[in-house]
């Protein structure tokens, strides 16, 4: 298998023209490429809507063969300290670009994972090296990017892709991979992934590794097998007063998926919002979850705080 056999990479569009959806955005980005000049860019929007793809495509089109020398991709969530901004980014930014263009390009993926301090350092770097370097910042929530950075960027809001676009793409991929897929299965793929192309492609590839003939029930099966809603189970156990089982499960999940306490709390939170529970219970659950996120940040032992939260959920479920 070549590296590209992961479909999200294999079918990642190389040029702006090939990017699915986001018509208005593509038009403006193309004008930057044409003029060979661009401001700093801020791409905001949900997962799997083409932010990284657009950034990579811009780099390829701007620098063509020399894009590797003039373009750096960094993932903020893997290294979100101020040191990265001071070290790697600065070192890259302060050297001259290679080839015909007057600036280099840095893609900072998941920029909303940068701490505020790092963002302020970044803002200085952006100012200082404005003549030799442009940034593209990717994020899910632009509200997590500090104002001074936002005001230095042209902001592009990526929307979740709509059903016809997703279906067209998936049909195209299925044809190229020699799959037989039903219309209903395509519909389900869209519904499960909610316009997230990465998710729908991963799901399609996972399903196709079992069989080349794909129907809707298979998609459902693979989806729930790959990403079982286990946090959901944690809450259900707690509401049924199964304290020990619930806290063991949540600890195992945290270990298995390498979740921090706050990561796990976030997942519990989004599960509670989606679960079918009485309105008042939901509100008081969310109140408790918020309180324990706060305690987790103030406290010393996140596992203890998680256990205490589970105890609270037990209590609320049996009041």
């Amino acid at each position: 298998m070549s590296a590209l056999d992961i479909w999200t990479e294999k079918y990642r569009p190389k040029r702006l023209n090939d990017v699915y959806g986001q018509v208005g955005i593509i038009k403006r980005l193309k004008s930057f490429v044409k003029a060979k000049s661009m401001p700093h860019l801020l791409f905001a929007g949900p997962a799997g809507t083409g932010k990284t793809t657009c950034a990579l495509a811009i780099a390829r089109e701007l620098y063509s063969d020399e894009w590797g020398h003039n373009f750096m991709e960094l993932n903020a969530s893997d290294m979100r300290g101020i040191d990265v901004v001071r070290g790697r980014i600065k070192n890259f930014a302060r050297t001259m670009p290679f080839g015909g263009l007057s600036f280099k390009l840095i893609l900072l993926d998941e920029a909303d994972a940068l701490t505020r301090d790092a963002q302020h350092a970044l803002r200085r770097t952006m100012e200082k090296y404005a003549s030799t370097c442009r940034f593209i910042l990717d994020c899910n929530y632009s509200s997590k990017i500090i104002d001074p950075i936002q005001s230095r960027c042209a902001v592009f809001r990526f929307k979740p892709l709509n059903e016809p676009v997703v279906t067209e793409l998936l049909r195209d991929v299925s044809r190229k991979e020699g799959l037989k897929i039903t219309e209903n299965a395509l519909k389900i793929l869209y519904e499960v992934s909610r316009g997230d192309l990465r998710k729908s492609l991963n799901l399609l590839q996972a399903t196709s590794s079992i069989t080349k003939v794909i129907n809707e029930s298979l998609i459902h099966e693979v989806a729930s097998y790959a990403k079982p809603e286990e946090m959901n189970k944690v809450i259900k156990l707690a509401l049924n007063n199964e304290f020990d089982k619930s806290k063991d499960l949540v600890m195992n999940l945290m270990i298995k998926y390498g979740l921090s306490g706050v990561d796990a709390i976030k997942q519990l939170h989004s599960q509670v919002i989606r679960m079918d529970l009485p309105r008042e219970l939901k509100v008081s659950l969310i109140d408790r979850i918020g309180e324990y996120e706060f305690r987790m940040i103030e406290g010393a032992d996140e596992f203890l705080q998680m256990d205490a939260l589970i105890a609270q959920i037990c209590y609320l479920g049996n009041k």
Partner: protein
């Protein structure tokens, strides 16, 4: 002069400090090196420094725990002292209880001793204390041990003779036993009982009220069977564990409705850590003892968390290796690959052909390949 006896009779010369590595300390001082003396209280750590200064006619500069020993304070006292010769003979610096420095104190101390030209003696209780991890690289460690009972008794005998107290050897021995290797405690007891010039059998018997270290099982039994606030509050005082370890034991064995108080206690512990404001421990301690009911009254289980975390560590390392390799091929962060790609990759790897080609493509070891199933 009305000094407590343990001060009044403190050794003036090194040879009076028996059974400890004083010679090695002296050697360090002679060579202008830094040494860290570790050992339980009452074993002679501080008096060693005093005795050396006295014996060698050195000027002793002390930084003891009654000052707020933060970065600025340490810098203001040490930065000059350590690089200049004394006006009145050689200098000797003593920093007591280095495990209890304030915020920013430890890095500053290390900075100072690195360029020191004068001998420095540091003391601490436990040489394996995590806070001393870096410091250990910059000094010679000399470990003091609890005093043997016979030696303690010998010192007690000398003092009782000097103070003119009537007491039998047997009773001196009993006082020594009771102090468990802590000479200061023993001398204190001697002073307390001997104030009136005589120590009787009856008085020595009354000493047994003094608490000895108890096991965590004993402590938890006292805690979960306590009938009053005081009893619960004091139940774990004599358990020789730090607060974090006690917390693990308590939470492992606490009942469900105690968790709110445990959680509040943990918040205070977190604040101590963050602000180095140790008074918060008092609140944490009350909440995690008197605020807790047990799952049972006897038969306690050891903390399972640490074991679980430790077991999962090797797997975490393997997974991180795999994610790093995948990151070179997928444009996403490790976190995202873990949550958005890995679950599907695992399904794809049910297809043997795909799995084998992925393994050879990434160059995974068999153990790393295990992450994919």
């Amino acid at each position: 002069m009305n000094l407590p006896w343990y001060d009044k009779h403190a050794p003036r010369e090194l040879k009076e400090i028996i059974g400890q590595g004083t010679a090695r300390v002296l050697e360090c001082v002679r060579k202008n090196k830094t040494c860290l003396i570790t050992g339980p209280s009452g074993t002679g750590k501080t008096v060693t420094a005093h005795a050396i200064a006295h014996e060698c006619g050195m000027q002793l500069v002390e930084l003891s725990a009654d000052e707020k020993r933060n970065k600025d304070y340490i810098n203001s006292v040490l930065s000059n002292t350590l690089v200049t010769k004394g006006l009145f003979g050689k200098k000797l610096v003593l920093v007591d209880d280095v495990d209890l420095l304030d915020r920013g104190g430890m890095p500053e101390l290390i900075k100072c001793i690195k360029k020191s030209m004068v001998p420095v003696i540091l003391t601490a209780r436990d040489k394996w204390d995590k806070k001393l991890r870096t410091l250990r690289n910059y000094c010679e460690i000399i470990e003091y041990r609890k005093l043997r009972t016979a030696w303690t008794a010998k010192v007690l005998k000398r003092i009782s003779e000097e103070e003119g107290i009537k007491v039998s050897d047997e009773n001196l021995y009993k006082i020594a036993v009771n102090a468990i290797g802590d000479l200061r405690a023993a001398i204190n007891d001697l002073e307390l009982l001997g104030k009136d010039g005589e120590i009787t059998n009856y008085e020595v018997k009354s000493l047994t009220y003094r608490e000895k270290p108890i096991s965590i099982h004993e402590g938890l039994t006292r805690l979960f069977n306590a009938t009053s606030f005081e009893e619960a509050h004091n139940s774990l005082i004599n358990v020789e564990m730090d607060i974090n370890e006690k917390m693990l034991w308590i939470s492992e064995n606490a009942s469900k409705n105690s968790y709110n108080n445990l959680s509040r206690a943990d918040v205070f512990i977190g604040r101590v850590r963050r602000w180095q404001y140790y008074r918060y421990w008092a609140y944490a301690n009350a909440l995690m003892t008197a605020g807790v009911k047990g799952k049972s009254y006897y038969g306690f289980s050891r903390p399972s968390k640490i074991m679980k975390l430790w077991k999962s560590k090797s797997e975490r390392v393997l997974r991180d290796n795999v994610l790093t390799l995948l990151k070179e091929r997928i444009h996403a962060s490790k976190k995202k690959i873990m949550s958005e790609h890995l679950p599907y990759l695992k399904v794809m790897c049910k297809n043997k052909e795909f799995k084998n080609s992925l393994i050879s493509e990434l160059g995974l070891s068999p153990k790393e390949a295990g992450i994919l199933s």
